[in-house]
């Protein structure tokens, strides 16, 4: 693998035992892990192609401990990598050989649920699904629902600005977070946002969400909770071509309908899913669309009728409407199991995450077919059709020499293609280490430098989660003018890589 990570600080590696002692003074007991075998548990996240055990892991339980850890590391010039549940698909939580891994799993309490203001205050290690579980008996839920929701944490969701199948209608994490408490790299504890809508100054909350653990460690999150819709019904629609499925999606939106979810699968994904979960997906179609409508019953009934008519007009060959909740869940079961299902038909798969303008779908699919032939690797397609977010799954076998490299090259070509048609490198999984080196496909050097300027405002020594998101991190001082204001001196020189 060709991943180049920042050169380790030799001085830091040499001081490992001193660093472990210092961390133990902050987090007593079992909270500091330095045993090499135990550290292996943290060596990768959901992007398992990359592995690197951390120098040491620490599991703080309080904000003050997080602040003390960061303050100490900042003073000593030690790098830090935050981690939630480790389900990132872009290597955002990948450790560095000379970095302290700060695991947030012990921040697992729900602090407050306020139905009058329709919000929940939770610690970042609480899982996504746990929020909904805590409020559902009162008829509420937390809208963003990544497929990993049983495992992934709210802190990870905030860092990645995660989405889910319902985000076309209900938004991503960023649209559902009201406030955070965050510890900056120098140990300063600040609050951004709150329990009200909008804060007084710049929307720093908005940039912390989706910052991939580069700006600070989130220690508390206030999320909005919504009343659960009265009902939801799903349509399962088969098409003789991906083009007709794509046209159906466009026509639904043109009719003024924003479904709760609108997901598409191609032939390979349909067959893999059906073989795995046996929910009765039609096997003689090229594209399968699941359209879910939610809201009051009258609305669900009305809109399922409209969507069905649009589907027929686009040549749908099969069309089923969920009769009850069990059937609706069954329609989704195959889609939700699509990744593991593909995992059964191929030794390994590599999940991509670009977004494109939906109207470019046919040509993008065609070009991906050509690339699939060129690289000699299979491809299954699953996508959030409503918002144009593609999840092509590249099939490969890591045991065949060269296949992983080929899969990665194929993936990079797909993402370049997404950008070329006016789309983006990542719709919801984040840049991490995975798409880091592709950032120049989308942004000019000036654009990237300005984003790094923002990083420097939060973390001038670039100690927090280095090697992620940006292809080449400039020393903050190199960004030049930025901290020189009316004669104020820039911060001291720093080691560089």
């Amino acid at each position: 693998m060709s991943l180049v990570m920042p050169e380790p600080y030799a001085g830091v590696l040499a001081r490992r035992s001193e660093i472990v002692r210092a961390l133990r003074a902050i987090v007593p007991g079992e909270g500091v892990i330095d045993d090499p075998d135990a550290l292996r548990a943290y060596e990768s996240d959901g992007l398992t192609a990359y592995r690197q055990p951390p120098m040491v892991a620490v599991l703080p339980e309080t904000t003050d401990q997080v602040a003390a850890i960061l303050r100490w590391c900042h003073a000593q010039g030690v790098r830090v990598v935050p981690r939630g549940a480790g389900t990132s698909l872009s290597g955002g939580a990948l450790p560095l050989v000379d970095a302290v891994l700060v695991g947030m799993a012990r921040f697992n309490r729900m602090l407050d649920i306020d139905y009058a203001d329709r919000l929940a205050v939770v610690q970042p290690g609480v899982t996504n699904l746990a929020v909904t579980r805590a409020v559902e008996d009162r008829g509420f839920y937390y809208a963003p629902d990544p497929s990993s929701q049983i495992a992934c944490t709210i802190g990870g969701n905030v860092a990645e600005n995660s989405g889910g199948v319902h985000c076309l209608k209900y938004g991503l994490t960023t649209n559902n977070v009201l406030g955070v408490e965050i510890v900056l790299m120098d140990g300063e504890i600040i609050r951004l946002g709150g329990r009200q809508l909008d804060s007084a100054g710049l929307d720093l909350l908005g940039v912390v969400v989706g910052s991939e653990g580069l700006l600070g460690i989130v220690t508390e999150v206030t999320v909005r909770i919504l009343p659960k819709p009265e009902g939801a019904r799903a349509l399962l629609i088969g098409f003789p071509s991906v083009e007709s499925g794509g046209q159906c999606v466009a026509d639904v939106i043109a009719a003024g309908i924003i479904p709760a979810g609108m997901e598409m699968m191609d032939r390979l994904a349909i067959h893999a899913a059906e073989a795995f979960v046996e929910v009765g997906y039609p096997l003689d179609v090229e594209a399968l669309l699941i359209v879910e409508l939610d809201g009051v019953t009258a609305e669900c009934d009305h809109l399922t009728g409209e969507v069905a008519a649009i589907a027929r007009a686009n040549g749908a060959t099969t069309l089923r409407l969920s009769a009850d909740e069990a059937e609706r869940v069954a329609f989704w079961a195959g889609r939700k199991a699509a990744f593991p299902a593909v995992g059964r038909v191929s030794p390994d798969y590599y999940c991509m995450d670009g977004t494109i303008p939906r109207r470019r779908l046919p040509e993008v699919l065609e070009r991906m077919r050509e690339l699939s032939e060129q690289y000699g690797l299979g491809l299954a397609n699953v996508f959030h059709a409503g918002d144009g977010n593609l999840h092509p799954l590249i099939l490969y076998d890591a045991n065949v020499p060269g296949e992983l490299d080929r899969a990665e090259a194929f993936g990079a070509d797909i993402l370049r293609l997404c950008v070329a048609v006016g789309g983006v490198l990542t719709g919801e999984h984040g840049v991490g280490v995975e798409k880091r080196d592709l950032m120049p496909e989308m942004f000019s050097e000036t654009d990237l430098r300005q984003q790094q300027g923002l990083k420097c405002a939060f973390d001038p020594k670039s100690l927090l989660n280095p090697g992620k998101v940006f292809p080449m991190l400039h020393r903050c001082a190199e960004l030049g003018r930025m901290h020189v204001h009316r004669g104020a001196t820039p911060f001291p020189d720093l080691p560089r890589f």
């Binding site: 009058a116 929307d203 939060f458 930025m482």
Partner: protein, 392 residues
């Protein structure tokens, strides 16, 4: 305080020159969209107005992609007419503040409303400008062209700079081009109302509606004193015809415990929600405040200030308190802080604005961070006009 001069850049190159000249000359640049800004804060002497009105026009609009790209100087009214023709809308409900300042409407630009983070009554359900700005092009105070975000509805590539652009008040960069998410306009709306509730009762009724399955899009309350009679608490639902009836029926049920529920006639409902945009009930000319609090605390804010002569109404189910108040500004800020929120001075005589910053000063840690973020985009402080209590 009229600025000494004005610049009308017509291109990105002109903007880059303007930033360079400002850095050399040591003068501040006050970015202006519709230029209706005479009312806000105070201006540094010698500040030069940077008029963005040349950056006008529709750059790309594909209704089916739900994405619109426009020049930042395009008038809000033009943008709204464009999307309305396709049965779409800017869901965050931006509005022209002209009437609030006793001016004719129609001057507000899309860049101005986005930079000011404006959102109307539907903020509670649809979000704000921040939630709908997908991308932009700009020139930073450092004089560098900048591309942020993208032209697709779902994107997490790099930092979410559009969040910073919305609500940046001309303090980071001059935006030339904006990409906004647009949404279908619901064909039918209905408003249910209860008369005669006091502040606390209104908050409870609105909370019940917001927490119901009626999918409420807006909830507001105009106090008795502003209506010259009975207070009015109003809740709006929308959607396709049959759905709207069902949602209104849920409201009838949920609200029944709070008072006698009325179905407002369409014209009456339109008038009511228009009043909330133009703040017609608060046009007394007294200083106007905008107080953001957790919705359940709205009543606490007004119970503190009412005895001192404040006039008020609630939007956002109580989370936004608009009030006119002639008394001690510290009372407003203290009431907002006690309720866990903050207060902005939107309108007031020059002498007041000279003393009282438009926005609540942030806590020291956040203030220092904000300053560093501003320096990241505006290293030499060309946008420090002094308007927001920052150094002039």
């Amino acid at each position: 305080m009229a600025p000494a001069t004005a610049l009308s850049p017509a291109s990105v190159a002109d903007l880059i020159d303007a930033m360079a000249a400002a850095r050399r000359g040591g003068h501040a640049l006050a970015i202006s969209g519709g230029g209706s800004k005479a009312g806000i804060g105070r201006l540094a002497p010698g500040a030069v107005l940077l008029d963005m009105s040349a950056f006008t026009g529709i750059i790309d609009y594909d209704p089916v992609e739900l994405v619109l790209t426009v020049g930042a100087g395009t008038q809000l009214a033009d943008v709204e007419a464009l999307v309305a023709a396709e049965d779409q809308m800017l869901a965050f409900d931006p509005f022209d503040h002209g009437p609030i300042f006793g001016e004719v409407g129609g001057r507000a630009t899309i860049g101005g409303v986005v930079a000011a983070g404006v959102a109307g009554s539907r903020r509670v359900s649809a979000g704000s400008a921040r939630d709908h700005l997908l991308g932009f092009r700009a020139v930073s105070g450092a004089g560098e062209a900048l591309l942020a975000g993208a032209r697709v509805v779902k994107n997490v590539t790099g930092y979410d700079l559009p969040k910073l652009g919305a609500g940046s008040w001309g303090r980071l960069f001059a935006m030339t081009e904006l990409t906004l998410k647009v949404l279908p306009r619901p064909p039918v709306r209905a408003t249910r109302a209860i008369a005669g509730l006091d502040a606390q009762q209104a908050i409870r009724a609105m909370a019940a509606a917001m927490g119901s399955q009626a999918e409420v899009v807006a909830a507001a309350h105009i106090s008795a004193q502003l209506r010259g009679g009975a207070a009015l608490t109003a809740v709006q639902v929308c959607g396709f015809g049959p759905a709207v009836e069902a949602k209104a029926a849920i409201l009838d049920c949920v609200l029944a415990a709070h008072g006698r529920v009325m179905a407002l006639e369409e014209s009456e409902a339109i008038g009511l929600w228009d009043d909330l945009r133009t703040l017609a009930p608060l046009n007394s000319g007294q200083p106007l405040w905008r107080v953001h609090v957790p919705p359940s605390r709205g009543a606490a804010v007004v119970s503190n200030l009412h005895p001192h002569g404040a006039h008020w109404l609630f939007d956002w189910a109580g989370g936004l308190v608009w009030l006119t108040f002639d008394g001690d500004p510290d009372l407003v800020r203290a009431a907002a802080a006690r309720a866990g929120g903050h207060a902005s001075l939107v309108r007031g005589p020059a002498a007041l604005r000279e003393k009282v910053p438009a926005f609540d000063p942030p806590l020291p840690g956040v203030a220092a961070l904000e300053e560093r973020v501003r320096r990241a985009f505006d290293p030499s402080g060309v946008f420090e006009t002094g308007r927001f209590g920052d150094r002039a």
